[in-house]
Amino acid sequence: MDRQGSSQITRRDFLKMTTLAGIGVAATACGISPKSTGGNIKGITINYLGWEGYDYEKALVPLTEPNKIVVSSTYGGSNDEIFSKLKAGGSGQYDVVSIYHGTVDSMIENNLIQPVDTDRLTNWGDIMDAFKNQPWGTSGGKRYNVPFTHGNTPNAYNPKFVPNGIESWNDLKKPEFKDKIVILDEALQELDIALIASGTDVSRLVTKDELNKAMEWYLPLKANARALVPSYGEMADVMAREEAWLSSGTWVAIIGWAKEKGTVLEWKVPSEGTYGWCDNYVIPVGANLDAAYAFINQMTSPEGQKELAIYLNQWMTNKKVIPLLPPEMQADYKDMDAMLAKTPFPPSPPQSSDDPNIATYQDYVATWEKIKVS
């Protein structure tokens, strides 16, 4: 009997088919649907440019292992560096880029990125509305960004010395906190905090006058500071060694880093509020679209987001990730909508402006240097 021509299914054939079907179901569940890839992604290399960690290997395994995909990463230490790398002949070299929300519009203006087809984004419907409705990332009615993680910039404190934290950013200027504060050497973060504390809306470009007012607000805080540190790692170290009890603005990741060093820190948003940030995947001009959508779909899938959330200790944008997270992380999402509704997402200051009243990036840097020297 010619088994080749037989319509009978052998045990081996059955196993092969069920295995393939199983992989297909698993891949669909992980966001790798035929719609997501739209082409052959077997054995390709995905070229990633952006922040380290946003290409987390474990989050990508369901995409990379069955498809034998290699992710080749180039990291940038700042949003400007990522922008510059793309600007300096990056077209065609990268398939997907991660970037801060404030830089997306500059990338659009410089024709560095292309619109995303939301029909090819398998998780687009599950992304929180708060991030789809932000003013950044769209131009000419087209969307250019896929928001995937976000956070805010609260105040960190050591409850051993400041049991309830501070109520207002102004509390950082109190005499009892003289030499007990650590500030980050980062112009945009510190001046955004000062702008909020001095009553300026940071969800739009700010004026030079508002920036000067923020500087005046910041000077007494700087006079109270014990250390001005170059990185969040240093900030965690200074607070873990109890050299400082309070931070200015911070990244919540330092809470975990200080805990590893044996010091319990907590964070709180003072009454004036704080600002939010959101990191996005964007697709550069000249990218391999199949590679780009496969990567983005995996990283915005509930499973990919879960791995990222735990690895980075950050909030994610896919609503479906919440039940997959450990209980202590789920608690952060309880009042998320209300918090996001009152959190401004500042645009990056422009490098230059036709309006002489608008504060440029160089104005921020110069103002911050004046504060540091004061």
């Binding site: 014990r226 060694r241 109890e242 050299e243 990036y361 160089q362």
Partner: protein
């Protein structure tokens, strides 16, 4: 060799006459970066602060290094090579490791505060030891001390011992011999050691960033900021060459002063 040294300097010199617009470097000749540096009090303040810290550190290292070099040459001849080897070995240790080591010595929970508290000399940790200009000077002095000792040692080794013996034979005491013979003859080493430390210290930006606290920023940090976060290479280059010009001017003035004092460097 000269090309490798001069080429990057020349490139940055050219950059200092260009300007940044948006994210683009506009290759049009302009003096606006230099005007900005001169008009901006921040940079002048930082240069003055950096020169001050550089001078203090240079003086401290010479004052600490001179007795070491003197002892190696005239008092500890048998141990001389071992001490010299240890000095050179210390230069192999990472600069950053030494900076972090000082954090564990000067901090609130550091060695010094621990001793002071144990001896009940203070009730609470002395906070000004760390995150201050003092912390920067102490750390930089410790880092650059071996570099200062080497030219001091070399200049003292070149002094003919017969001159010292002649001074003593003619009735001069040890102090007078040191003041009239040894010190003037070793002045080349003193000046070289001071200049090495001064130049390296005044341009440093790592130690001020890690230990300088909220008032320890130096001109190196401002330059790093322009080349880094601000991406303004033309302005960063202009600040750099303004600092270089200031230091050259200082050395010329110093040379004139030494000449008037009868010393030649």
């Amino acid at each position: 060799m000269v090309f490798l040294f001069l080429a990057p300097i020349f490139v940055f010199f050219i950059y200092s006459f260009w300007r940044l617009e948006g994210f683009e470097i506009i290759r049009e000749w302009t003096l606006e970066n230099y005007v900005h540096v001169i008009e901006n009090k921040v940079y002048v303040q930082l240069i003055v602060r950096s020169i001050g810290i550089g001078m203090i550190t240079g003086i401290v290292t010479v004052l600490l290094g001179y007795p070491v070099a003197y002892a190696m040459v005239f008092r500890m001849k048998a141990e001389r090579e071992m001490i010299l080897l240890l000095m050179i070995l210390s230069l192999f240790s990472s600069y950053l490791v030494r900076v972090y080591a000082w954090k564990t010595i000067l901090g609130n929970n550091g060695v010094i505060n621990h001793i002071l508290m144990t001896l009940r000399l203070v009730q609470e940790p002395v906070s000004w030891l760390m995150y201050s200009k003092l912390a920067v000077i102490i750390t930089l002095a410790s880092v650059f001390l071996p570099i200062t000792v080497l030219p001091l040692y070399s200049s003292l080794m070149n002094i003919s011992y017969s001159l010292i013996e002649a001074s003593r034979d003619l009735g001069a005491g040890p102090a007078q011999t040191f003041r009239k013979v040894t010190l003037p003859l070793s002045m080349h080493g003193v000046i070289a050691g001071f200049i090495f430390t001064f130049v390296l210290t005044a341009g440093d930006y790592v130690t001020p960033a890690l230990l300088g606290g909220s008032n320890g920023m130096m001109i190196g940090n401002a330059i790093a900021s322009q080349f880094g976060v601000a991406s303004n290479w033309p302005l960063g280059s202009a600040i750099t060459f303004f600092v270089v010009a200031t230091l050259v001017l200082l050395f010329v003035l110093g040379g004139v002063l030494f000449k008037k004092m009868g010393l030649r460097g």
